[in-house]
């Protein structure tokens, strides 16, 4: 874990300055939270809502680390269906399929209807685009959208941004967003009030989790630069098949579990491949996530749910 328990001085001073502009900050367990007061409240949500995150479902995986990845995927769907209150929508942070085999995207989409949630927002993982450079994924999940699959939307006073950092993988390289997407992001958030809570979701972590294994987005810092002025930024990633959290200023980073197989902690194995664990403990290291936003509390509550 590279979680930081404190707030650096610069971050703290920035927040203090904000108290004069309508936001009251508190520090709780190293994670900043704020309460909107006065005029800022008008731009906030009026009701609490939650959404769910599922990640790295790897439809088609049949390796030793999980001989029945479809069964654990189904268990994850049941887990989401049981969430109360019902999530407003679902976010899939990529690696929908394992080998991009024919029909795999359909299997995932059909099965996810079992959650009872009408809307799922997707971003691709490298396993969804490696075989054809993203043609099928973009055709199915991003048709009619400008750019190459990136998106943003507003829900309940929160601004959501889905970024794509797996389409420009190069030899020796890492996750990357690219100039066109960065310019789009800068424009996308430029008109928002700094008190708007922002949720960013993307497959590969936007922070340097472990560059030796490619667990980093090389231009992620630039993207985060456009979000620095916001009082509450929550970054949700997948890719590394394990939970990690990091707090940096007003940005909270979370990586998610997979529903298919776990991966080793950074540097804990010779390579980042699927990690074999005793069968009886497998479901305990797979899972889904519920995220709740409450008006007046800019810190989003993140609850991890294992499949055990």
């Amino acid at each position: 874990m590279s979680e930081r328990s404190g707030v650096d001085r610069r971050g703290f001073l920035r927040c203090m300055a904000w108290t004069g502009t309508g936001l009251l900050w508190s520090v709780s367990g190293g994670v900043l939270s704020s309460q909107t007061i006065g005029a800022a409240e008008a731009q906030s949500a009026t009701a609490t809502f939650s959404f769910a995150q599922i990640s790295d479902t790897h439809i088609g995986f049949k390796g030793e680390a999980n001989r029945d990845a479809m069964a654990t995927f189904e268990a994850a769907i049941a887990r989401i269906k049981a969430l109360d209150p019902k999530p407003a929508f679902l976010i899939h942070t990529g690696d929908i399929t394992h080998g991009q085999k024919a029909g795999a995207f359909d299997v995932a989409r059909e099965a996810l209807k079992g959650t009872g949630i009408e809307r799922t927002f997707y971003v691709p993982g490298e396993h969804d685009v490696f075989a054809d450079g993203g043609t099928e994924y973009l055709d199915r999940f991003a048709s009619g959208r400008p750019g190459r699959g990136w998106q943003s939307f507003d829900y309940g006073g929160v601004h959501f941004v889905g970024l794509v950092n797996v389409l420009t993988y190069k030899a020796g390289g890492l996750g990357s967003l690219g100039t066109e997407q960065l310019e789009w992001l800068e424009r996308d958030v430029s008109g928002l009030s700094a008190s708007t809570p922002v949720v960013v979701f993307a497959h590969v972590p936007l922070w340097a989790v472990y560059p030796q294994w490619g667990w980093v987005t090389d231009d992620g810092e630039q993207a985060l630069g456009y979000l620095k002025r916001f009082g509450s930024v929550t970054v949700l990633n997948g890719h590394i098949h394990q939970i990690m959290q990091k707090v940096e200023g007003n940005v909270t980073f979370h990586t998610a579990r997979s529903t298919a197989f776990p991966q080793p902690a950074p540097g804990a194995a010779p390579s980042p491949g699927p990690m074999k664990v005793p069968v009886e403990t497998l479901r305990g290291v797979l899972g889904i996530r519920e995220v709740t936003y409450a008006p007046g509390r800019n810190r989003l509550a993140v609850v991890e749910g294992s499949l055990a």
Binding site: K62, G63, E64, A65, H98, G99, Q100, E126, H127, F130, A131, Y169, K170, A171, G172, G173, L174, Q212, W213, G214, P270, S271, P272, G273, P274, K276
Partner: protein, 114 residues
């Protein structure tokens, strides 16, 4: 799965070698293997004569690809124990990587037989 057209070229090349030298060319003389293990190409740099068919075999639990950086060859996703073969008919340096794990890189250097 296998690159069928280059394979035909390899057969022709072997036939030409037979004609030129009068000696039978065994499959071993025109074949080479690269093992994929623990997220790496075990022979990251391999030098072979033209006409060599290189076969990559994936021993990992994870999928990998063998993809030329210059788009000369491109394997599908290789699951555990799956192989991909490509026959190199022209001299040159062929760099490749795994599109799923771009940290994994390798090169095949192809030389004309002297």
């Amino acid at each position: 799965m296998k690159a069928s057209k280059p394979m035909i070229v390899a057969v022709v090349t072997v036939a030409a070698l037979l004609l030129a030298t009068g000696k039978p060319a065994s499959a071993q003389e025109t074949g080479a293997r690269i093992e994929i293990k623990a997220h790496s190409f075990e022979t990251p740099e391999l030098t072979v004569p033209t006409g060599t068919t290189v076969t990559w075999i994936n021993h990992d639990d994870d999928s990998h690809t063998v993809t030329s950086t210059a788009n000369v060859f491109r394997s599908p996703g290789l699951d555990t124990d799956e192989t991909y073969a490509y026959t190199f008919t022209r001299p040159g340096t062929y760099e490749y990587y795994c599109t799923l794990h771009p940290m994994m890189t390798g090169k095949v250097i192809v030389r004309s037989p002297s």
